[in-house]
Amino acid sequence: MSKRDDRHDLMRLRLLAAQDAMSLSAEELVKEDKEAGVDTQVEAERWRASMRATAARVLREARPVQNTEYVPLSGRVRKRPDIDALKALVRGVFAARPELGLAFRDGKHQSDEDWKTLYDDLVDAGAIVPDEHED
């Protein structure tokens, strides 16, 4: 068996294990978790929150900057307001301009990272004037 085959076989072995994970019924998943002392629902929410935060972080970091000297307005803001004031500001904008709410997903499941991204977007869109709210 060549070393190259070892690497390839390891991938196949892992996928074989994944096939088993996919074959488990909802009842079997809960039963197995219970035996291991895991709350299926709590663990699912922990993963969801973590994945949500990762996706929001990538979006924040991946903003295209076409002009290398250009810094978006949100990037020029010295400091965002604290998170509660920031949420109040964002809610105020949506209350005043409901048409913007289409992109807000009803305000549900928003992580702090989501709120910060949203705040920056609204600053860049001119809906929030940062100078008025900086810490």
Partner: protein, 209 residues
């Protein structure tokens, strides 16, 4: 069709990926947790959630970009995430330009074509990078051999799982393994379950599935 003759399929946007994360059920997360846990042993990861977050980051980077990890929208999100986690776990042991081969066709999640995942490497390496990593790949090869030795030692007292591993290493596909090992469907499925639990135990040091 693109220049390589592949049919162009719709690729998810960043917002579609974020929506899909919200739409996953508790059972989906439980399956993803198990698949990720089984991928840890022999990889650089020690936490399935860390591996999953890397998969999400790669998918988000690929959204709307010509290069990167793309989620073809006709592929179930769970299947896409499992295959992406698998690729990441294997990334250090793969050639950077290696894509899935026919021999993996029977190992992708049920109901999905393996060609859906033959969508290019997670990243493209320069010629310089490939030369520079030759030594690293030799080290990874030795590491993979050791991982297999550990796995075989772990299952030394479980003849059925050991047979499953040996048949797989012999190049057999799942259906062939079952036949040549003389297993019933139930025996094969329970052996596969013990394999998954064993890999999880090795990867997590005996922690939860």
């Amino acid at each position: 069709m693109d220049s390589a003759g592949h049919e162009m399929k719709p690729i998810a946007t960043a917002e579609q990926i974020r929506t899909a994360i919200e739409d996953l059920t508790d059972e989906d997360y439980a399956r993803l947790r198990r698949a990720g846990s089984a991928f840890l042993y022999g990889s650089e990861y020690t936490d399935p959630l860390e591996l999953m977050n890397e998969a999400i980051a790669r998918a988000m980077h690929g959204a709307g970009q010509a290069k990167g990890r793309h989620w073809p929208l006709h592929v179930p999100f769970v299947a896409f995430l499992i295959m992406t986690m698998s690729s990441i776990a294997n990334a250090s042991t793969e050639s950077p330009t290696q894509t899935l081969t026919d021999s993996l066709a029977d190992f992708v999640p049920e109901g999905v074509a393996y060609s859906d995942f033959a969508i290019g490497p997670l990243r493209a390496a320069s010629t310089e990078e490939e030369c520079a990593t030759e030594e690293e790949r030799a080290a990874e090869s030795a590491k993979s051999a050791k991982v297999f030795a550990d796995i075989e030692a772990f299952f030394a007292n479980d003849e059925e799982v050991l047979m499953l591993v040996l048949c797989l290493r012999d190049g057999q596909r799942p259906r062939e393994i079952q036949e040549s090992a003389g297993m019933t469907v139930t025996q094969y499925n329970t052996a596969r379950r013990r394999l998954r639990r064993g890999l999880t135990k090795l990867g997590l040091g005996g922690e939860r599935p």
